[in-house]
């Protein structure tokens, strides 16, 4: 038994860690012999309990880190599920191929990216990760192997994409890479002073900019922030220079994110960004994965950990709902300095439980202040529910079951594809088993 935490560090409970490192032997290792079942676990970059299973088995997939085949002409990559997106990017971008969609951290596995059907800053153009997956090889705890994709066994594909690891263990995947000229991006940052300005910027940028995202100041309640957009640079060719990664060296005894530091942090961040407002050409790593440079920054929230709250609400109510959420946060004084606001494009996800849907998504970090934080999140829930939105399970550790059911109308259909030998804290909390 070994204590395992997810990225939010809200719990540190013992798990029976079973490393998978041979895809041909995986069946012997995952065979359900526990009443509690097991759950696959990649890099543990999910914030809440989607990849946790205290006292039960955790099938660690990071040993499945082999590439299987790459076709330089078609850009099709076949790899094991524990391969890191970082390794794919670093290997193939210099060869002219990039992952079409990546989340805000590249320290995640291919299996984790599929199981949460992750999205990136280019959702309006390219959808989510699953839109580029051509084949998944899944092993069930009864030993059956299922291959599925957008054109074959589609119902299994749709259940497994965004399926929170509950349909089986993904052993391999085939991904359609996208041609790229190189690692450089032309970026622009534009400060905005209220939500209407944000929506204008978002609407006018979606046609001409591949990547859009914004940081929003959620302390002042004004809806001010910085809008960032980027396009690949097609000319620059010289070799990228990588900066050394820094680690958060220790867990501070109390959370560094509190009312004393929050205001100045927001102020500084905003002014720092303003100073840099304008255009520049940057390497893709700091733009796409700004937090990866500071490994283990999640420790800054102290030993009690933190919640992330990410919602998506339909576009027509997007502005009002976002405004209402910002007001609640301002009122509570529980602000988070990392608030991200972005629009999703008009594309339905392929997965039955995939999070992205057309609309606007807001992601916030809250240091764990027990009931104070829960009260705030309950108020945010009410706004999301009224707006007919949903919450992202990859970031969740506490949403009530009825909000999950309301947000994911295909839930009942999904249940048909669950693997009886698989269970997680999240599945027990939200699905009862």
């Amino acid at each position: 038994m070994k204590p395992i935490s997810s990225w939010g560090r809200l719990s540190h409970e013992d798990h029976q860690v079973i490393p998978l490192n041979d895809r041909h032997q995986a069946f012997n290792q995952i065979r359900a012999n526990e009443t509690q079942g097991g759950i696959a676990h990649g890099m543990g970059r999910s914030y809440g309990d989607v990849g946790l299973n205290p006292k039960g088995a955790l099938w660690l997939t990071t040993g499945l880190h082999h590439l299987i085949h790459f076709d330089e002409h078609t850009g099709r990559l076949i790899c094991e599920s524990g391969v890191l997106l970082r390794d794919i990017q670093r290997l193939l971008i210099p060869r002219g191929w990039i992952l079409p969609v990546t989340p805000g951290s590249q320290m995640v596995t291919v299996g984790g990216a599929i199981a949460n059907d992750v999205h990136g800053k280019n959702h309006h153009l390219l959808g989510s990760f699953g839109d580029h997956v051509q084949n998944i090889k899944l092993i069930r705890t009864d030993g059956t192997i299922i291959e599925c994709g957008p054109l074959h066994n589609t119902e299994w594909f749709s259940a497994t994409l965004g399926g929170l690891g509950l349909t089986g263990v993904i052993l391999e995947a085939e991904i359609q890479m996208r041609p790229t000229a190189g690692p450089w991006l032309d970026t622009e940052s534009i400060p905005y002073s209220n939500l209407s300005e944000f929506f204008e910027l978002a609407d006018s940028s979606e046609k001409d900019w591949e990547h859009t995202v914004s940081w929003i100041d959620c302390i002042s309640g004004k809806g001010q922030g910085i809008f960032m957009r980027a396009n690949p640079n097609k000319e620059l060719k010289h070799a990228p220079k990588m900066k050394a990664e820094k680690k958060m060296p220790f867990v501070p005894p109390i959370s560094l994110v509190n009312s004393l530091t929050l205001r100045p942090f927001n102020f500084l961040y905003r002014n720092h960004q303003k100073y840099k407002a304008g255009t520049s050409t940057v390497h893709y790593e700091p733009f796409f994965y700004p937090l990866d440079k500071l490994l283990e920054w999640n420790r800054m929230y102290g030993p009690k950990g933190f919640f992330q709250y990410q919602s998506v609400v339909p576009r027509n109510v997007g502005q009002d709902a976002t405004q209402a959420m910002l007001k609640e946060i301002e009122k509570s004084g529980e602000g988070s300095f990392l608030a991200v606001l972005k629009t999703f494009g008009n594309r339905e996800s392929l997965g039955m439980l995939s999070f992205p849907e057309p609309g606007v998504t807001l992601a916030l970090d809250f240091p764990n202040h027990a009931s104070r934080t829960h009260k705030l999140m309950n108020r945010l829930d009410a706004i999301v529910k009224e707006a007919k939105g949903r919450i992202y399970p990859a970031k969740d550790a506490r949403m009530p079951r009825e909000l999950f059911e309301a947000g994911y109308p295909k839930l009942n259909e999904f249940l048909k594809y669950r693997d009886a030998g698989i269970s997680s804290s999240l599945s027990r909390r939200l699905l009862g088993s």
């Binding site: 070994k2 041909h24 082999h66 590439l67 299987i68 085949h69």
Partner: protein
């Protein structure tokens, strides 16, 4: 002139060895010979290396790690047409110390696979490299071989055997064209250690492999990976037994 380096990796499916192979493959102009016991596992590693570096020539050799004749034949075969420039001897297992104490069979096989087998491989490579007066032998030992500790002295004793053997080879080849490096990795976060408490704080196999390949390149006699283990083990080696025996390590 053919500048391609031929590198043989014994125990090529071990995590650290595999990461060394990835670094070498990406450096270009190398030929890798992956030696191991399990054909299917070797094929997985070879396919992965091929995706990473399409122009690298990769060969697979399935063999035995225990039988001296098999070891001799395997290494002889490697030198049939061309010399081997670097031999990385990397295989091993890490059973529970408790199990080795209660099960003499396991105790024996642990000593055999971690101690005797790497030593026989080293000697077989030495035979060929002496004749050619060129080549590098790199053997993966362990910090566990620096001092016997109650928590893993069976494994440690085998690695201690490797340590003395490598020293002897270094003495023998001093001033010749043959180089011998002894590698001592500290605890590394590999599938072998994934279930251990605190393993997420161990060095990653990537970091360790970087230190190893750079150390071999510069013909270092002893390569601690990561390098900080040199200092830690110096302290541990020199602790008086009076203090050492009270420690729970």
């Amino acid at each position: 002139m053919n500048n391609t380096k031929r590198i043989a990796i014994i125990g090529a499916t071990s995590s650290i060895a595999e990461h060394c192979a990835r670094i070498w493959a990406q450096q270009g102009s190398v030929e890798l010979i992956l030696v191991g016991r399990d054909q299917r596992k070797l094929e997985i590693v070879a396919a992965d290396l091929l995706v990473r570096s399409q122009n690298t020539k990769i060969e697979i050799v399935v063999t035995d790690f225990i039988d001296p004749t098999a070891i001799q034949n395997t290494v002889d075969a490697l030198f049939t047409f061309q010399p081997i420039d670097i031999a990385l001897i990397a295989h091993g297992t890490l059973p529970e110390q408790q199990d080795c104490q209660s099960n003499l069979g396991l105790n024996y096989s642990t000593l055999e696979i971690n101690g005797i087998s790497p030593v026989l491989y080293a000697e077989a490579f030495a035979q060929h490299m002496t004749k050619l007066n060129q080549g590098s032998i790199a053997i993966i030992g362990s910090v566990a071989g620096d001092r016997g500790r109650k928590s893993n002295y069976v494994y440690g004793a085998a690695k201690g055997l490797v340590t003395r053997y490598a020293q002897g080879l270094q003495h023998r080849f001093a001033g010749t064209g043959v180089n011998v490096s002894l590698i001592k990795p500290g605890p590394t976060n590999t599938p072998m250690t994934a279930a251990m408490k605190g393993s997420e704080k161990f060095a990653t196999p990537e970091e360790v492999a970087k230190t190893i390949t750079a150390g071999i390149e510069s013909k270092k006699a002893v390569i601690y990976a990561p390098a900080k283990w040199w200092l830690i083990m110096m302290v541990i080696r020199h602790l008086p037994s009076l203090i050492f025996n009270k420690m729970n390590i």
